[in-house]
C-alpha cells in the first residue's frame, strides 16, 4: 500500500457514497451542494463499477445540485443553496430531501445547516450531511448519511418493541450485490421471527425508518461500514448494537443466527430449529453437485481481493463451505492500523482450520507481489508445488492477476464492470448456493 497515492481507488469519495445512499432510500432525493461535476463523476463510476446499476428513482445526472462556480467560491454559496433547495421542492417529488456537501463549499466554509434549518422549520422533510470528498471514502459517506438519518430523521423517544431490529452495513452501489445481500440477511432475521428495518430494500419505507428508534437491537453487517451510525444510534436512541461479518453461505449464516439469537436472548431451541431446517434444505440442493465436484476436481487454491466486508466473508465461504484453500486475503480498504486486527481476526479462526494470509492493500498491481511472498515462485525445480489450480475472487480490476495466474476469476467486490447485477445476493444459506453456482460456473465455462 502506497503512502503517497491510491491506485485505481475501489471507492468514490464520501460525497459519492452519500449520494448513492440517499438515492437508495425509497423516495430519497439527494441535493448536492457541490461543484457541477460531482454528480456526473458518480454516475460514470457506478456505470463502470456497480454491476451496471446507475442511480435509481433520483440518482445519476438527475440529482439536484447547486453546481457552484468561482463566483460562489469568492462570495460564498449559501444563497445559491437556498435557491436550489426552494426550486427542488417545486420540481422534484420526494419523501426525504438530503443536502450533501462536496469539497468546494466546505473549503470555503458554507454552513448548510443554517440554510436547511429554515426549511425544516417550515416542516419540509429535509436533513443534511457534511460529506466533502476530502473527508473520506464512499463507505464513510454512507455512514455519514446514516448518522444524519439517526440524528435528524428517526423519531426520538419511541417505545422499544420486542422483536424489532434495524439492519445495515451493506453499502448501496459500493456493494453491487447490495439489494440481494440486504434481502438475504433480512430473510435470515425474519426466519427468527424478527421484524426488520433494513433502510434500503424494497420492503423498507421512510415511515419504517422514522420508527427505527423503536428497535431493541441494531445489527451491523460490517466491521467498518456504518459503525459510526451504530454509535450515534446508541447515544441518541439507546439502542445497543452487534457487529457481525457479512453472512455469506451456510457456516456464516449459522453463526450469524446464533449471534443475533444470543444478543436478543431468543430461545436457543428456536434458533437451532431454524438452522437445522435451512441446512437440511441447503445440503439437499448441494447434494447432486457431489459427483461433479469430485470428478472435475473442483477444489481450488484461491486469492480473495475485496473490501472489508467481502474479503472476510468470501474467504470464510471458500474455506469453510467449499473446502477451498484461500491462501491470500487482500483487504482493499485503507483501514487505519488500529482497525486492522478486528478484520484480520475474523479469518484467523476459521471453522475449517484453514488459515489464510491477510494483507491490507488497495492497489491491484501489488497483489501479485503479495502472493509471491506468500507462495514463492518456481525456481526451475523439476518438482514444484505450484499455486495451481487457482481461482481469483475479487473485482474486475483483478482480472489481470487472474490472467497472470492462468486462473478463472469472478468479480464480486467493487468495481464490477463485467457482470450485470440486479438483485442477486450472496448472503444467507441460499446466497451461498448462488455464489457456489457463480464460482463453479466460471471454472466450467468452457466445458
Amino acid at each position: 500500500m502506497s503512502e503517497n497515492f491510491v491506485e485505481r481507488a475501489r471507492y468514490l469519495c464520501s460525497l459519492g457514497g452519500a449520494a448513492a445512499t440517499v438515492t437508495a432510500l425509497s423516495g430519497g432525493i439527494p441535493i448536492l451542494h457541490s461543484a457541477s461535476g460531482c454528480a456526473g463523476n458518480f454516475a460514470w463510476t457506478q456505470n463502470g463499477g456497480s454491476g451496471l446499476q446507475v442511480g435509481g428513482y433520483c440518482g445519476g445526472l438527475t440529482v439536484p445540485s447547486s453546481n457552484i462556480q468561482e463566483t460562489e467560491v469568492v462570495f460564498g454559496g449559501e444563497d445559491r443553496l437556498r435557491e436550489e433547495i426552494a426550486s427542488t421542492l417545486k420540481v422534484m417529488k420526494g419523501g426525504l430531501y438530503v443536502v450533501l456537501t462536496g469539497c468546494v463549499p466546505e473549503v470555503i466554509g458554507d454552513d448548510i445547516f443554517a440554510v436547511l434549518n429554515d426549511f425544516r422549520g417550515e416542516g419540509v422533510p429535509i436533513i443534511g450531511a457534511v460529506t466533502g470528498g476530502f473527508r473520506g471514502d464512499s463507505y464513510w459517506g454512507y455512514d455519514l448519511v446514516l448518522q444524519a438519518l439517526v440524528k435528524d430523521y428517526v423519531a426520538k423517544g419511541a417505545a422499544k418493541v420486542k422483536g424489532r431490529v434495524n439492519l445495515w452495513g451493506v453499502v448501496p452501489y459500493m456493494d453491487p450485490f447490495w439489494r440481494g445481500n440486504l434481502e438475504g440477511a433480512r430473510h435470515l432475521l425474519e426466519l427468527l421471527g424478527l421484524e426488520v428495518n433494513s433502510f434500503f430494500t424494497s420492503a423498507d419505507t421512510l415511515a419504517g425508518i422514522r420508527e427505527a428508534g423503536s428497535a431493541e437491537l441494531n445489527i451491523v453487517l460490517s466491521d467498518l461500514y456504518g459503525q459510526g451510525a451504530a454509535q450515534v444510534f446508541q447515544e441518541k436512541h439507546g439502542i445497543p448494537f452487534v457487529t457481525t461479518s457479512l453472512p455469506i453461505g451456510v457456516s456464516a449464516s449459522e453463526a450469524f443466527l446464533r449471534q443475533v439469537g444470543a444478543a436478543l436472548s431468543l430461545d436457543p431451541e428456536l434458533v437451532q430449529q431454524v438452522i437445522d431446517r435451512e441446512k437440511r434444505h441447503y445440503y439437499q440442493i448441494l447434494e447432486p453437485l457431489t459427483d461433479c465436484y469430485n470428478d472435475l476436481d473442483l477444489q481450488r487454491y484461491a486469492v480473495v481481493v475485496g473490501d472489508a466486508n467481502y474479503a472476510v466473508a468470501l474467504t470464510r465461504f471458500l474455506a469453510d463451505d467449499l473446502g477451498w484453500l484461500p491462501v491470500l486475503t487482500v483487504v482493499t480498504d485503507r483501514v487505519h492500523e488500529s482497525g486492522q486486527p478486528a478484520i484480520a481476526t475474523r479469518v484467523e479462526r476459521l471453522a475449517s482450520g484453514f488459515s489464510t494470509n491477510v494483507v491490507f492493500e488497495s492497489d491491484a498491481s501489488q497483489v501479485l507481489g503479495h502472493l509471491n511472498r506468500v507462495w514463492p515462485r518456481a525456481a526451475g525445480q523439476k518438482y514444484y508445488n505450484s499455486f495451481s489450480p487457482a481461482f481469483v475472487v475479487g473485482s474486475s480490476l483483478d482480472r489481470e492477476l487472474a490472467l497472470q495466474l492462468g486462473a478463472p476469476h469472478l468479480s464480486v467486490s467493487f468495481p464490477v464492470a463485467n457482470r450485470a447485477v440486479l438483485d442477486r445476493g450472496y448472503t444467507g444459506f441460499r446466497g451461498g448456493l448462488r455464489l457456489a453456482e457463480d464460482v463453479f460456473g466460471q471454472i466450467v465455462a468452457n466445458r
Binding site: F5, C13, S36, C38, N41, W44, Y57, S66, N67, F134
Partner: protein, 510 residues
Amino acid sequence: MSYFDNKVPPKREDRLNAVIAHQDSICGLARKGKGGKSCLIDDGERGFTQGTICLLLPALAMLNSLPDNVVLLHSALGCGSCTHSQNANVRMGSNARRGKAQDGIWLSTALDETDVISGGEDKLERAIIEADRRYRPASITIVAGCVPGIIGDDIDGVAQRLQSQVSAKLLPVHCEGFKTKIWATAYDAVYHTIGRNLLVEKGVAEYTPQDELEVLREQERLARTVNLMNVSSMGRVDEQELERLLASLGLEVNVFPVFAHPDSFVKATRAALSISTCPTHDDYFLGYLEERFNVPSIIKHMPIGIENTSLWIRDVAKVFGFEEQAERLIAAEEAELREALAEFRPLFQGKKVFVSAGEFRALATARLLQEIGLEVVGIRSFHHDHFAEVEYEKLAREAKTDYVVDIANVQPFEEANLLNRLKPDLFLGHANGNMTAAKLGIPTHVIYNTGLAYIGYRGVYELARRLHRQLSNPAYNRNLAENLRLPYSDAWYEAEPFSYLNTRGRSVNE
C-alpha cells in the same frame, strides 16, 4: 504571446464566449449565425440545476487512453473515479489497436483534511517519484481537481521541480471543476499540456540524412501525411472508416490524440495538414500547430451524416488538389449508401426524433437523422459557441418546423418537460443521458459508444440499422414507462419548460 505560454489555458467562456444556459429555436440560432451574432449570446443562469459533469471527465477520457501513461489525480479521493467506466473504453480501445485489452493506470493523491489545511505539494512530489519508480511510464499526467485549485497548490511548479529527478515526462493538466462551466475546456486543458510538453523532441540531434533519395521519399511522404484528430467518443471502427476514405485519396494518416503514445505527438508537427473531426474538440490545439509549426488545418465539418462526410472529404481534397478524385469517391459512396438505406426508410418515415449531446455531435447527428428520413423536433446542445453556426444553418434549411433548441449542460428536468410535450418517437442521448427519455417510454439510442460505428458513410448505415432495430421493438422502454415514474412533480410537467432559465438574482456576466 500564445495561450500556450501560460501555465493554465483560458476557459472557453472567456476564449469563445461559450454558453450553457439559453433557450432558442433552430431558425433563431441559424439567423443569429448568419448575422454573425450568435457568439454574442449572453449566457443565462438556471435557478434550479441538476448535477452534470465537469471538465475533469472528458479530460480523463483522453488521458486514460494514452498508452504508457499514468494518470495521477491531485485532488480529493473521489475525483477521477469515473475512470471505472472509462476503463472499459481503454480496454476495448487498446484491444482494437494493439491486440491486448489493457487496464488504464490511474492514481489519486487522495487529499485529506490535513492536506487541505497544510497544502498538498509535498504529497504530490512523493507520489510522482513513487509512481515513476513503480510503473516506469513514458509520461505522468498530473491532473488537478477542485481542491488544489482552492488551496493553491502549484502543480506546474512541482512538475518543473521534479522533472529532472524522474524518467517519465511530467504533464500538468488543469481540471479544477469549479473554474469553468464549459466542459469542452477539458480538450484545451489536455492539448495545452501536449502543446507545452510533447511537441518538441528533447535530446535528439538534428536529423542528418545520409541518402538523398531517402530524404526525397521522406519529404514526399510527409507532404501527403495528415493528422487525423480523433475524439475519445470515437471508437477504432470510426477511425478506420475515416482512414479508409483518406487513404482512397492517397493520404497517409496519423491519428491523434486519443490512444496516441505520448512520444508520438512530435510527429503531429511534421504533417502536411491537420483534419479535425469535431470543431468543439480541436480548435485550441490546431490553432497552435498552425501558428507554431506551420501545419495548416481544416476545422469545419464533423463527418457524421452523408452531407457532412462528403463536405469533410471535399475540404481535405481541395488542400491537395484531389477534387476530381474526391467527387468520384463521394458519388460512388453516396449512391451505394443511399441504396442500402432504402430498406430502413419506411419505418423512419414520419417519425419524430429529439437529439441531445455535446453541441457538434448533437447537430451533426440531427442532420444525419434528417437524411435517413426522420423529422427532428428538438435538440439539446450541452453548450453553444460560434463553431456550430454552420450546423444550425444546415439543419434550419431542412427543418419542417422551427423546433426548440435547449442549450443546457444536461438538465434532464427541462428535457422531461419538453419530451412530455413533444412526444417524439425516438431519442438519441449522450452516455448516461438516455434514462429520462427511456423512463418516459420513448425508444432511445446512445449517441456515442466507442464500440459502435457512427462516423463516415459506414456510420450512417450502421446507425440507421441500429435505430431500425430499436424501433422494431421498443418494448423495454415502454415497460419502464408503464411501471416507473420520473422524480418530477406533476406541477413541473405543467410549468413552462424554461421556467428556471434566468431566474437567478444575478448573472455570471455581471
